[in-house]
């Protein structure tokens, strides 16, 4: 909200500079976000929080200034000089003129409506001082009548509306809900189709304004207008909010109505506008009418001084507390020993609880004067170690050279479609702003693949990334979130050795390697990557439970991602479930006392033979002397006939009781060679 330095001075005696004033306001909770010298005045931009609609006016900010500086505000309630009185003891106003009939369909929708008929006025341009002030606060000048209603809105915070009375049929005002399909052309020349959610102002025949949001074109005050009906009212904030949202009409009026108007200021604003109109447009107000409640309910808040100091961690004396509250316009009655009853004014409906008053005291006293202390924290140790395991996982992967990425949890259905998924079962967003936010992702691989495509486009020749995030799926018991690890890589890496460069083309075995290192670090021993018919999708099992897959993306998918001449390999596994298999307990095993002996076997096998099974069989046969059998080399090339593969397997024999002799090892090794030849058709080289 914009406000000017000089305008504020109309209401409170300010002796400090605009700069200093802005700092004081900021530190009291009315944050001045900018300060601009213009036309001999200073314009403040203030961010008024949604709990303080009373501050959406010059008067409201002036009250704050007065409270901060301990000054008096130059404003008092005016009695109505017209044909009804605003009595202090009567909260109700009633229409009392036969010439102005006000009907309110539902008091809840419109708790207060006041109307004044001003005759014989002359519509014309506003005087310079008025135009200038409006322009300084960002409001365009229209004509004197409209400008005055706007001026009073900025000054008192109560929105007003002026109707050209000659266009109102029947001379009366009806505040009611619109009928479904009822139409109104608003002053911005747009036809609005209304429904029963819209509160409207109507005459006998038709809607003339959307209550609190915007007036109708046909009753707008224009050059030929000589008689107006001036409206000052309160409308239900929720109804104004709904109309504003549905019709997409944000205005200075709706902004204030949504936040709430001080009932006491409504008639005051109306009187102020009447006075200005009579002065500047030459009209006379002879008829006035009103209906509704013109004061908020009085309430008392009990405030215990010890509670103030206990909550804030300060020691503010009672006299100072009383003074602060008094300066804020609150009535303070001292009760028993340091217990006050406090009555807030009608413009502060936000004050209801003792803590509300504590905040008022704190912000005027000054947050900067509250000391800093260190509370004693009694720590609790959580049994859930998910975060530790996530952090461990990330450390392992970073150590293996992978880069962590963070991608959006919301994706477009198109991305899922390019992975051959129809997005069925994916959770959809009701109100996405764009197609990129259509669904909560059911998997990480699509996002990671897109990320790889992006980086390949940036001419990276090797990308290896991972992400740990939730995936989302619908289930009978409602939406489910699952913590998932996704790894993806693409391209090749050239490693420069002394012997020269070696180009390392990445593939599924690299993924498998990463997964194995990870599983081993988690203390998981039983894991399995067995191909099940499809060499492009390898399921990953941990303790016989299927926890995810490794995939080589198909050419179709790669084409859709615009990736040429490159492959993507990816892994996705459920961390929520893998972590339940983790075992980080360590147990020391005594080091071998006797040396082991290694014997290598070079074999050629048919392509179809499973090397994994062969190794498992060797380990079985070699018991108990064989401690391990592992592949230490593999061969491809001319020496190996087509349809065959060749390996060197290193067997380590060892005993815990003695150093083994050749005589002991030879038969065991021979048995292994025999088994390989007979059972797996191996040629021993």
């Amino acid at each position: 909200m914009k406000i000017t330095y000089k305008w504020l001075k109309d209401f409170v005696d300010i002796r400090v500079s605009a700069q200093r004033l802005s700092e004081m306001l900021t530190m009291a909770g009315q944050e001045v976000t900018s300060l601009e010298k213009r036309d001999g005045d200073v314009v403040f931009e203030i961010e008024v929080t949604s709990n303080r609609p009373d501050c959406l006016s010059v008067l409201g900010i002036a009250r704050e200034v007065a409270a901060i500086m301990g000054k008096k505000i130059k404003f008092s309630l005016q009695p109505s000089a017209l044909n009804f009185q605003l009595k202090a003891d009567s909260r109700k106003l009633r229409a009392d003129s036969q010439k102005l009939i006000i009907k309110i369909e539902n008091k809840k929708d419109c708790p207060l409506y006041t109307g004044k008929i001003i005759k014989d006025l002359k519509v014309g341009p506003s005087p310079d001082w008025l135009r200038k002030r409006l322009e300084l606060v960002g409001c365009r000048s229209v004509n004197n009548i409209v400008d005055i209603t706007n001026y009073v809105l900025f000054e008192y915070g109560a929105p007003l509306h002026a109707f050209d009375r000659s266009q109102l049929s029947g001379g009366s005002i009806i505040v009611r809900r619109a009928k479904n399909g009822e139409k109104l052309t608003t002053i911005d020349e747009k036809q609005r189709v209304l429904n029963t959610d819209n509160l409207i102002i109507a005459d006998y025949d038709k809607p003339v304004a959307i209550a609190g949001v915007m007036g109708g074109r046909d009753t707008e005050v224009a050059r030929g207008t000589v008689e107006i009906l001036l409206e000052a009212a309160i409308f239900d904030p929720i109804l104004v909010r709904r109309s504003r949202q549905k019709l997409g009409l944000q205005s200075e009026s709706s902004y204030r109505f949504e936040r709430g108007i001080d009932p006491q200021i409504v008639e005051q604003a109306s009187l102020r506008a009447v006075a200005l109109i009579e002065k500047l447009a030459g009209g006379r107000c002879r008829v006035a009418g009103a209906l509704g409640v013109a004061q908020s309910k009085r309430r008392t808040i009990v405030l215990d001084l010890s509670r103030v100091n206990k909550n804030l961690g300060v020691n503010i004396p009672a006299s100072q507390v009383k003074k602060i509250l008094h300066n804020l316009g609150l009535r303070v009655k001292a009760g028993k020993k340091n217990i006050f009853s406090v009555e807030p004014p009608s413009y502060r409906p936000d004050l209801n609880l003792a803590v509300d008053l504590i905040e008022e005291i704190a912000r005027i006293y000054g947050f900067e004067l509250i000391p800093t202390t260190q509370p004693a924290i009694r720590p609790r140790v959580s049994r859930d170690n998910t975060q530790e395991l996530v952090s461990l996982t990330k450390r392992v992967l970073v150590g293996l050279g992978l880069r962590e990425v963070i991608t959006y949890s919301l994706i477009d259905k198109g991305l899922l479609a390019s992975f051959g998924s129809d997005a069925k079962g994916a959770i959809e967003i009701l109100n996405p702003l764009s197609s990129e936010q259509e669904v909560l992702r059911p998997a990480l691989i699509p996002s990671l693949s897109r990320c790889i495509a992006y980086n390949l486009n940036q001419k990276q020749d090797y990308v290896s990334i991972f992400e740990i995030a939730n995936t989302y799926s619908a289930s009978n018991s409602g939406p489910k979130e699952e913590l998932v690890l996704g790894i993806a890589f693409s391209g090749s890496k050239t490693l420069l050795f002394e012997q020269g460069a070696i180009k390392n083309e990445f593939g599924l075995l690299h993924l498998k390697g990463i997964a194995e290192v990870f599983f081993n670090r988690l203390g998981i021993k039983d894991y399995d990557f067995t191909e099940q018919g499809n060499p492009e999708v390898i399921p990953v099992y941990v303790n016989k439970e299927h926890l995810g897959s490794m995939v080589r993306l198909s050419r179709t998918v790669l084409n859709k991602l615009d990736i040429k001449n490159k492959e993507i390999f990816a892994l996705e596994i459920s961390l929520s479930r893998i972590f339940s298999h983790a075992n980080l307990k360590k147990q020391f095993a005594a080091l071998p006392k006797f040396p082991g002996i290694a014997r290598d076997i070079s074999v050629t096998l048919e392509q179809s033979v499973s090397i994994k099974q062969a190794l498992a069989q060797i380990e079985e046969i070699g018991k108990p002397l064989l401690k391990s059998a592992r592949i230490i080399d593999s061969y491809k090339g001319k020496q190996i006939p087509c349809g065959y593969k060749a390996f060197t397997i290193s067997c380590e024999y060892r005993s815990d009781q003695r150093t083994l002799t050749e005589a002991e090892i030879n038969p065991a090794h021979a048995a292994i060679c025999r088994e390989l030849a007979e059972r797996f058709g191996a040629t021993i080289r």
Binding site: T49, I358, R403, A474
Partner: protein, 337 residues
């Protein structure tokens, strides 16, 4: 002859010895019957009697040095499997190692912030991203149709129940307090979502860290104390802080926290909008209505809560001016962290 010059010569020549043959040549040159050291020894009688002692000692030291260099060299040549060892590398070439990966800068900042609070005794708790309206709004004293909700524009999910993507990490306050009794000191990191149009300073997904503490006698001064420790740990000891009154529905009193601009040190620059201050978080004393919702007695307990945007902190810390870069995951960006 100058002994120092000879020492230098020894050091230089042993360096180029790389075979049994060249080592023998080296030995003969220095330790041979007519070698340099023999010559030095034979020159002793010609010296002034007072200089002889010192000179003799120096010659002996040199002799010992050459002998031990030869033994050492013999050993290293022998371990080079008998053949002469050639220098096969140029130390100017790139070293050979596996490249280290990296954590996303947001993870690094999250870890740093959570680490500070963990050291102070806070426990880290996480909560679901799909939430109920109750936990995200009502329980936190945010009325459903109220302007205070405007800043919390929210993504809703299709379906019968009105579920949403949490627009802040505060619903975890409700979850934790409903499950546990005070004392509590908890920190909650996580993803949050708001349907904001994406630009340099807005993203529809971002990260927050929420913190709260509840016990008997927790004060606003405690809130100031804890956040001061945090801000100084992240931004440096000489940072200035200020608490500015603000409004949040779930705290009363509420404060926004500013630090003196880390770019201009408070003098005013484009980053802080010439104000000299940077807003880094929102905070306050937990509203009694929130306590009522979770079944705590507001007369017995008080507490504070605070929340911050991780991207904002990371942008300030690393001098990043566009939030979108975090989610592009360009390797040229990631490799800088």
């Amino acid at each position: 002859m100058d002994i120092d010059a000879i020492k230098t010569q020894v050091d230089f020549e042993i360096g180029s010895v790389d075979s049994v043959r060249s080592l023998e040549a080296f030995r003969l040159k220095f330790l041979g019957r007519k070698g340099i050291i023999a010559q030095l020894t034979s020159s002793i009688p010609n010296l002034h009697p007072q200089e002889r002692g010192a000179f003799g000692q120096e010659v002996n030291a040199l002799k010992n040095k050459v002998s031990s260099l030869i033994t050492e060299k013999q050993r290293s040549i022998a371990s080079g499997s008998g053949e002469s060892r050639q220098r096969t590398y140029d130390i100017g070439m790139p070293g050979i190692a596996q490249e280290l990966g990296s954590l996303h800068p947001l993870t690094q900042v999250l870890n740093e912030i959570c680490g500070i609070f963990k050291k102070m005794g806070f426990a880290v708790v996480e909560g679901p991203e799909i939430e109920s309206e109750y936990n995200n709004f009502t329980g936190l004293n945010i009325p459903l149709e109220h302007p205070s909700r405007d800043v919390f524009d929210t993504f809703y999910l299709k379906g019968k129940e009105r579920l949403l993507l949490r627009s802040h990490t505060s619903p975890v306050q409700i979850r934790v307090m409903k499950k546990q009794k005070p004392p509590l000191a908890v920190i909650v990191p996580g993803r949050v979502y708001r349907p904001d149009a994406v630009d340099a300073s807005h993203s529809f997904m971002f990260h927050q860290i929420e913190g709260f503490m509840v016990d008997r006698n927790i004060t606003f001064a405690d809130l100031k104390g804890i956040l001061e420790v945090f801000a100084k740990a992240v931004f440096g000891e000489d940072i200035k802080m200020r608490f500015r009154p603000h409004f949040f529905p779930f705290t009363e009193p509420s404060a926004e926290v500013d630090i003196s601009c880390i770019i201009c040190k408070g003098r005013g620059c484009s980053v802080c909008g010439k104000k000299g201050w940077l807003e880094i978080l929102g905070s306050g004393m937990i509203h009694p209505n929130v306590f009522k919702h979770v079944g705590y007695d507001p007369k017995k307990y008080t507490g504070f809560a605070f929340g911050m945007g991780v991207e904002r902190i990371a942008m300030l810390k690393y001098g990043i001016n566009d939030i979108r870069i975090f989610f592009e995951n360009d390797l040229r960006f990631l490799k800088q962290f």
